[in-house]
C-alpha cells in the first residue's frame, strides 16, 4: 500500500493544489498587485486608480526623501535591536533560571507565558494607564518616592511636575517596554522546551568531570541550545518588523511630534487615515524587502550548527 503511494504521485496534487490556490489568491496575487499599486495614483481603499504617478516611480522618490519614513525606519531598527537584546536575552536568562529550580517550574512557565494571550489593545490601554501623565501608576510611584519635583503655591495648592512618559525624551522606552514584556514569555517557552531536550546524562557526565554552575551553563547548556536560540532570534527579528498594534494603541499617529513612527504604523496611517493607498503600498514593499533582507542576514549570522 505504502509503495503504491510513492509510485503514484498524482494523489499528492489533490492535497497540494487547494493550498497552492489559496496562497495564489490570498498571498501572491495581492502581493504583486501591491507592487503594481505603488506606481499608480489611488486616493482611497477600493477606489479605482486615477492613472500612473508622474513620474511613475514618484512614490519611491518620496520614500527616500520622506523625513517621517526615515524616522520610522530608524525606530523600527532600534526596536529590532532591542528585541534581540532584551526579548530573547531576558527570555534566555529566565529559562536558565527556571531550568535550575525543581519546584514551581510549571508555575513560572504559565506566569511568563500569560501576557501572550492578552490582546494587544487591552495591553496598550493598560500601559497607557500606567504611564498616564497625571495620576498614572508610574508617576504616582515616583511622587511617593520623592522623585518628582513639586511646588507649593501661596494658596496652598501643590503643583507637581509630572513626568511625560510620551514626550521626546521618554517615548522609545514607553513604546518598547510593553512590546518587550509581551513577547518575553513566548521565547521563554521555546527556550525552556529546548533546555528540556538536553539529555540529563550529559550533565551527569559533566558533574563527574567537576563542571558545575556557570561552567555547566557555558560549556554544555548554551552550545546545546544554539539551534533553538537561532530560531528564536530569527523569529524575534522578523516579528519586530511587523509590530503595529501595541504602539498604535499607545501612540497613534507618530506621537510625539512625528518622532514615534514605526514602519507598520506609518504604513497604516498613510493607507487608512491619509487615504494615500499607493504610498502606503510603497511602504509595505519596503517592509517586505526589509523583512527578507534582515531575516536572511540573521539566518547567516545565527546559522544553526549542523553538528547539533
Amino acid at each position: 500500500m505504502n509503495s503504491m503511494i510513492y509510485k503514484k504521485k498524482s494523489p499528492l496534487l489533490i492535497f497540494l493544489i487547494p493550498a497552492f490556490a489559496f496562497l495564489l489568491v490570498f498571498l501572491y496575487y495581492p502581493f504583486f498587485q501591491n507592487i503594481l499599486n505603488t506606481f499608480l495614483q489611488i486616493g482611497g481603499l477600493g477606489r479605482a486608480p486615477e492613472g500612473l504617478n508622474t513620474p511613475w516611480y514618484e512614490n519611491y522618490q518620496r520614500l527616500v526623501s520622506d523625513p517621517y519614513m526615515r524616522t520610522a525606519l530608524k525606530n523600527t531598527l532600534v526596536l529590532v535591536l532591542c528585541t534581540v537584546i532584551f526579548q530573547v536575552g531576558i527570555a534566555l536568562i529566565l529559562a536558565l533560571l527556571v531550568d535550575t529550580i525543581r519546584v514551581g517550574a510549571e508555575f513560572f512557565r504559565t506566569v511568563y507565558f500569560f501576557p501572550i494571550v492578552i490582546s494587544a489593545t487591552a495591553l496598550g490601554l493598560m500601559f497607557n494607564l500606567m504611564f498616564l501623565y497625571k495620576g498614572g501608576m508610574v508617576n504616582q510611584l515616583l511622587l511617593s518616592l520623592g522623585r518628582l519635583p513639586y511646588e507649593v503655591k501661596p494658596s496652598g495648592k501643590v503643583i507637581v511636575q509630572w513626568l511625560d512618559w510620551k514626550d521626546q525624551a521618554h517615548f522609545l522606552f514607553t513604546m518598547f517596554l510593553p512590546v518587550m514584556w509581551q513577547y518575553v514569555g513566548f521565547y521563554f517557552v521555546i527556550l525552556v522546551t529546548g533546555l528540556n531536550n538536553i539529555p540529563e546524562d550529559v550533565y551527569e557526565a559533566a558533574a563527574l568531570d567537576g563542571a558545575d554552575g556557570w561552567k555547566r551553563t557555558r560549556f554544555i547548556t548554551l552550545p546545546l541550545l544554539r539551534n533553538v536560540l537561532c530560531t528564536c532570534l530569527v523569529l524575534a527579528i522578523t516579528g519586530a518588523l511587523k509590530v503595529f498594534d501595541l504602539p498604535w494603541v499607545m501612540f497613534g499617529a507618530g506621537m510625539p511630534e512625528n518622532q514615534g513612527w514605526l514602519t507598520g504604523t506609518y504604513m497604516y496611517d498613510q493607507t487608512f487615515n491619509k487615504m494615500n493607498v499607493d504610498y502606503g503600498s510603497t511602504i509595505a514593499v519596503l517592509i517586505v524587502v526589509l523583512g527578507v533582507v534582515l531575516s536572511n542576514v540573521a539566518n547567516r549570522i545565527f546559522r544553526p550548527s549542523e553538528d547539533l
Binding site: G46, L132, K134, S155, I159, G252, A253, E257, N258, F272
Partner: protein, 416 residues
C-alpha cells in the same frame, strides 16, 4: 442509542432552519457617532431598544466616537462594499464620496414609496448634496463654545467671560490662572486642535467670511488662517495649554478640566452630556464665550446642523431591509425621540423639540445661546478628509516651530 442521538440532532437542525426561514425579524447594521463617551449615548441606546421592541427587528450597533480615523473608516467601508444599512454621518463634503458613488438613497426616492418619510423636518434645513438632492434626515444640531470651570476661575479671582469678552482680557486671565498654579486651557493640540483653529480663524476674519477657503497659499483667506494658527502658537509658547498637550489625548485634557485643574475648554454641545454624567458638581461649570478679536465679537460662535441619517443603497435594494431601515430612521428622527437628544441645540423639526428638565449646565448653555448674535458652520467641514487630516496633523509642527503656518496651509491646500 447512537441512532436516537443522531435523530435528535437532525430534529434540532430542522427546527433551527425552520425558525430561520419563518423568522420575520430583520437585523440592521447601523453605524453612528453615538459611541464612546458621546453625551447622547444613553439616549441612543434607549431609542434603539425602543425600536427593537416595537418592530421585533435587531440592530447591530457599530457606533464609535467621531474623529478623523472614524470618518476614514466609514469611507473605506463604503469603498470596499462593507457599508452599513443605516449611517449617521456628516452631511457636508465628507459625505460626497459615497453620495457621488450612488451608495446612498435620496429622500425623494424614499418618499416615492414612503410619502411620510422625514416630513416632520423643515426641508430648508436639510443638507443639499453637490448634485442638488437631499439624502440625509437631520438629527440635532450642534454649537461650539467655551466651557469654563467656575470653581477654578473663582479661586483665581477671574470673572466668568461674558459676550463682550476680548482677546486682551483673555490673555490677562490666562496669565493670572497660570500664576495661580492652574492650567488655563484644556486642549490636546495633537488630537483636537480643530476647536481652537475654528475660533482663531474667525478671530482673524469675520463670521460672514468664515467659510471661505484659501485658493492659494498667499491669498487673504490663507493669511487669515495663518494668523489663526500663529495665535494658537502664541498661546502654546506662553504655556497656557497643558504641559503634555502634544502627547495627551482629548479624554485626558477634558478630565483635567473636569477635575478642577484647568479653567477653559472649547468644545461642543455633545460635551454637555459628558459633564452631566461625570462632573462631581455641575454648578462648577458654565458655558461662556470664546474671546473675540478684531471684527469678531465673543458672542459669535460656531454651530449648525452637520449630521444626519443616510439609508444605503445596499439596504434599500434588499427587500427584507428596506422597510426596517425606513422605520429605524423615522423612529430615531421622530419629534419624541429627538426631544430626548436635544437640550439646547437647534433642530430641523417642523414642530421644534420640547426638551424637559434642563440641568444647571444645560440652562447655562441655553442662557449663552440666547446671547449668541451670529453663527457660522465649521470651515473644516469644507475641506476634504486628506486636507483636513494634513492641516490638523501639522498644528503640532506649527506650534513647536518646525513648520511655518503658511507652509502648513500650503500643504493642506495642495490636498484639497
Amino acid at each position: 442509542m447512537k441512532k436516537a442521538f443522531a435523530l435528535l440532532l437532525a430534529l434540532i437542525m430542522v427546527l433551527s432552519l425552520a425558525s430561520l426561514s419563518f423568522a420575520d425579524s430583520v437585523t440592521l447594521n447601523v453605524v453612528t457617532s453615538y459611541g464612546g463617551d458621546d453625551g447622547n449615548r444613553g439616549n441612543f441606546e434607549a431609542a434603539v431598544k425602543a425600536y427593537e421592541e416595537s418592530t421585533g427587528n435587531k440592530v447591530n450597533d457599530g457606533s464609535a466616537t467621531s474623529n478623523e480615523e472614524w470618518k476614514a473608516k466609514v469611507l473605506t467601508d463604503f469603498e470596499t462594499g462593507s457599508e452599513p444599512d443605516v449611517l449617521f454621518y456628516f452631511t457636508n463634503a465628507d459625505a460626497e464620496p459615497f453620495i457621488s458613488a450612488g451608495k446612498v438613497v435620496s429622500i425623494d426616492e424614499i418618499r416615492a414609496e414612503y410619502p411620510d418619510y422625514a416630513t416632520n423636518m423643515k426641508s430648508s434645513m436639510m443638507a443639499v448634496a453637490a448634485d442638488g438632492k437631499q439624502y440625509s434626515v437631520p438629527s440635532s444640531g450642534y454649537w461650539e463654545n467655551m466651557f469654563v470651570n467656575k470653581a477654578v476661575l473663582e479661586d483665581c479671582g477671574v470673572a466668568v467671560p461674558g459676550p463682550d469678552y476680548t482677546w486682551d482680557q483673555f490673555l490677562t486671565d490666562c496669565a493670572t490662572i497660570k500664576e495661580a498654579g492652574y492650567t488655563p486651557i484644556a486642549c490636546s493640540l495633537v488630537e483636537v486642535p480643530h476647536y481652537w483653529f475654528e475660533f482663531m480663524v474667525m478671530n482673524n476674519g469675520t463670521v460672514a467670511n468664515h467659510l471661505d477657503l484659501p485658493q492659494s497659499a498667499d491669498d487673504a483667506v490663507a493669511a487669515k488662517w495663518a494668523a489663526g494658527l500663529n495665535d494658537i502658537k502664541a498661546l502654546y509658547e506662553a504655556g497656557y495649554f497643558p504641559a503634555n498637550t502634544l502627547t495627551a489625548s482629548d479624554a485626558e485634557t477634558v478630565e483635567l478640566f473636569n477635575s478642577g485643574e484647568a479653567a477653559f475648554l472649547i468644545d461642543g454641545s455633545w460635551k454637555v452630556g459628558y459633564f452631566t454624567s461625570n462632573a462631581a458638581d455641575l454648578n462648577d461649570f458654565a458655558i461662556a464665550f470664546v474671546p473675540g478679536k478684531g471684527e469678531r465679537s465673543a458672542s459669535e460662535a460656531i454651530g449648525g446642523i452637520s449630521m444626519g441619517y443616510f439609508i444605503t443603497r445596499k439596504a434599500w435594494d434588499d427587500p427584507a431591509k428596506r422597510e426596517a431601515a425606513v422605520a429605524f430612521v423615522s423612529q430615531l428622527t421622530s419629534d419624541e425621540v429627538l426631544s430626548t437628544f436635544v437640550t439646547t441645540e437647534v433642530t430641523a423639526l417642523v414642530n421644534g423639540a420640547s426638551p424637559a428638565g434642563l440641568n444647571a449646565l444645560q440652562e447655562s448653555a441655553a442662557e449663552a445661546n440666547a446671547k449668541i448674535t451670529a453663527i457660522a458652520g465649521a470651515v473644516q467641514d469644507r475641506l476634504t478628509a486628506e486636507a483636513r487630516g494634513d492641516l490638523f496633523a501639522n498644528v503640532q509642527n506649527v506650534v513647536t516651530g518646525k513648520m511655518t503656518a503658511e507652509d502648513a496651509i500650503a500643504s493642506a491646500i495642495a490636498l484639497n
